[in-house]
């Protein structure tokens, strides 16, 4: 029996096209500050923040199967870590952003020891309960400004344009880094292990995948990313309060973005973020109807089209811009 050499393919045509388009987009974003459109820059920062939050939640729920509705804890902790590091400890505020991520990850270790005792639906509620504890603890701490919160003062010496420019650059860097990190992780050995756990816990366990460690790893990565995003958001907004920073709304937006865009894919959150923004601009005058529509869309999507918008596109046209699978070409 003759054997032909079969090759393992890791890229697709769509991914090569996507890489080119992505590079063009990135170039465009880098050039944006030259136009002086500060409002647009702020919007991009917001968009990137939501995208990164979505990617982090997607990693957790779509790939690790951990449905957390308490990730807002890390957003808030990241935001407050920024203030404490920059204002109280004199760290450069821009440097404090990644450090805030580390702080969030540390709290994540603590949180995991509590919530990993639960599974499924009770895990979800448990994460929410812990997020509430963090919120209330912060709201009762005088040094953190209690219920009224605090303002980031460390950036005051900077000219507004400089601050906005550096924040923007930081956001771009975080956005690119997050996408790259998630992509690389999923294509790595740990990533394959993760997808195996998602597909079948017993099977992956029998193949030597340490389920607990794998899940913990993902939980920490997600917290880290979410913490950095929280710091970024409040670097942009400058004013933080517990009710805003630890609000369940962050998780609501994240979940809707991921579900509507496409859970368990890398492209999904991108599509979802765009849909979210579009809807927000269109329905800006309609107050709570916007959230009602979002909620209804998420429910319908989950019921009829669980693959999400991107999932439908990918199925129909077999496109994978971020291929994380390996195909065997015989």
């Amino acid at each position: 029996m003759a054997t032909r050499r079969s090759t393992v393919e890791r890229t697709t045509r769509a991914s090569r096209v996507g890489a080119v388009l992505g590079a063009l987009l990135l170039a465009g974003l880098i050039a944006l500050p030259l136009t002086g459109e500060a409002g647009l820059m702020r919007m991009v920062v917001e968009l990137i923040a939501l995208l990164v939050l979505a990617q982090m939640w997607n990693l957790l729920a779509g790939y690790a199967g951990l449905v957390s509705i308490g990730q807002q804890a890390y957003l808030g902790l990241g935001g407050y870590a920024l203030i404490v590091l920059a204002d109280d400890l004199g760290v450069n505020p821009f440097l404090a952003v990644p450090l805030a991520g580390v702080a969030a990850a540390v709290f994540a270790i603590l949180t995991a020891s509590i919530v990993f005792q639960f599974r499924g639906g009770y895990f979800a509620v448990g994460t929410w309960a812990v997020a509430e504890v963090y919120r209330l603890l912060v709201a009762n701490t005088p040094a953190l400004g209690r219920g009224t919160g605090r303002t980031l003062k460390a950036v005051f010496p900077l000219a507004r344009e400089t601050r906005e420019l550096v924040t923007y650059a930081l956001a771009l860097a975080v956005g690119v880094a997050a996408m790259a990190a998630v992509y690389v992780y999923l294509r790595s050995r740990q990533g394959v292990g993760l997808m195996a756990v998602r597909d079948s816990e017993p099977a992956s366990e029998s193949l030597g995948v340490d389920i607990y460690l794998t899940k913990l790893q993902v939980y920490l990565i997600s917290a880290f990313g979410t913490g950095i995003t929280g710091a970024l958001i409040y670097l942009n907004l400058l004013r933080i309060s517990p009710d805003a920073a630890f609000s369940i709304n962050w998780t609501a937006y994240t979940i809707f973005i991921v579900v509507i865009g496409g859970l368990g894919t890398l492209e999904g959150p991108i599509v979802g973020t765009l849909v979210f923004f579009l809807l927000r601009e269109l329905l800006a005058d309609y107050g709570a109807w916007y959230m009602i529509l979002l909620g209804a869309l998420a429910v319908v999507t989950m019921m009829r089209y669980p693959q999400g918008v991107w999932g439908l596109i990918a199925e129909r046209w077999e496109i994978h811009v971020f291929p994380v699978r390996r195909r065997v070409r015989l």
Binding site: Y122, V130, A252, W289
Partner: protein, 290 residues
């Protein structure tokens, strides 16, 4: 309010929390579903009671008689039309869909009633109090609500322990597939469970709405309290749930006495402590390994 007062108030509050908890653990037991909109449904019931009181000039406790069947029907309908379709697809769809319900209900209430605080007024009973001696006085209404909670818990206990439907709930909880082989139509059963859950939570929601103010956003807290009472008390025992609710209630009222902002937080901290020390709860009788 003296310390003993705070404890007594906590106990009485605990009865209501036990009702919230029972509604949650019933559906979790029967169909492994955690309804993230659990608290929001109780707020919805309270708002419906507000409407009934305004439109029909009713006493809130009478409005209860109107609202509870409506909520039961809503529960049955939602389960059969929406949630039953998510069965067998793992927990993610159910968590996300009930979360979606939570957002829809909260924002729907916000849109309809604005962010104003609401309170149901039962006209008089609630401020009258009963002297228990030793300088301790307990509101009649608080006592009534506790009695109501206990009566409901007893009724539920009888339903689950002595009726065919109750056996069906327990059997389905144990082994859904074999229960089906016994002839139990689990789609209908799940609908009944959800209907019952929302009925119980509607009663608790309306009663709590007489005791304290509420807004469109008060739902999630109630979900958390229900969850905490379940965990503290342990699975499988209605009386364990009552004790769990009482412990939570007392922690909250005593904590609030220590410092106004610390009420709910103290409850959370007690919950976390019980979780870390005795993860299976204080009174687990469940033979199942969950």
């Amino acid at each position: 309010m003296g310390w003993l007062d705070a404890v007594v108030q906590g106990i009485l509050l605990g009865g209501l929390y036990a009702l919230f908890a029972t509604g949650l653990s019933l559906i979790f037991g029967v169909m492994r579903l955690v309804n993230l909109a659990h608290g929001d449904f109780s707020i919805l019931a309270a708002f419906l009671a507000v409407v009934a009181v305004r439109a029909l000039d009713l006493n809130p406790l009478l409005a209860l008689l109107l609202v509870v069947p409506v909520m039961a029907a809503v529960g049955y309908g939602l389960q059969r039309l929406v949630l039953n379709r998510l069965l067998g697809r793992g927990i993610l769809p159910a968590v996300l869909v009930t979360f979606g319900f939570s957002v829809i209900i909260q924002n729907g209430l916000l849109q309809t009633f604005s962010a104003d605080s609401q309170r149901l007024n039962p006209g008089g009973i609630e401020t009258a109090s009963l002297a228990l001696g030793g300088g301790l006085a307990v509101g009649w209404f608080s006592l009534l609500t506790f009695a109501l909670a206990v009566v409901l818990l007893v009724a539920l206990q009888l339903l689950i322990g002595r009726t065919a439907i109750g056996r069906a709930f327990r059997a389905t909880s144990d082994d859904g597939e074999t229960a089906e082989l016994m002839g139990i139509d689990n789609r209908r059963l799940y609908g009944l469970a959800m209907g019952l859950s929302l009925a119980v939570v509607a009663i608790a929601g309306i009663v709590l709405g007489i005791r304290t103010t509420f807004t469109f956003a008060s739902g999630p807290d109630r979900l958390l309290f229900a969850f905490e009472a379940v965990i503290i008390g342990g699975l499988g025992s209605l009386w364990g749930t009552l004790v769990g609710g009482v412990i939570l209630g007392v922690a909250q009222t005593v904590g609030a006495k220590l410092s106004p902002g610390w009420g709910v937080l103290t409850g959370h901290l007690v919950f976390l402590t019980v979780l870390l020390l005795r993860p299976s709860g204080l009174f687990t009788t469940s033979r199942r390994v969950d």
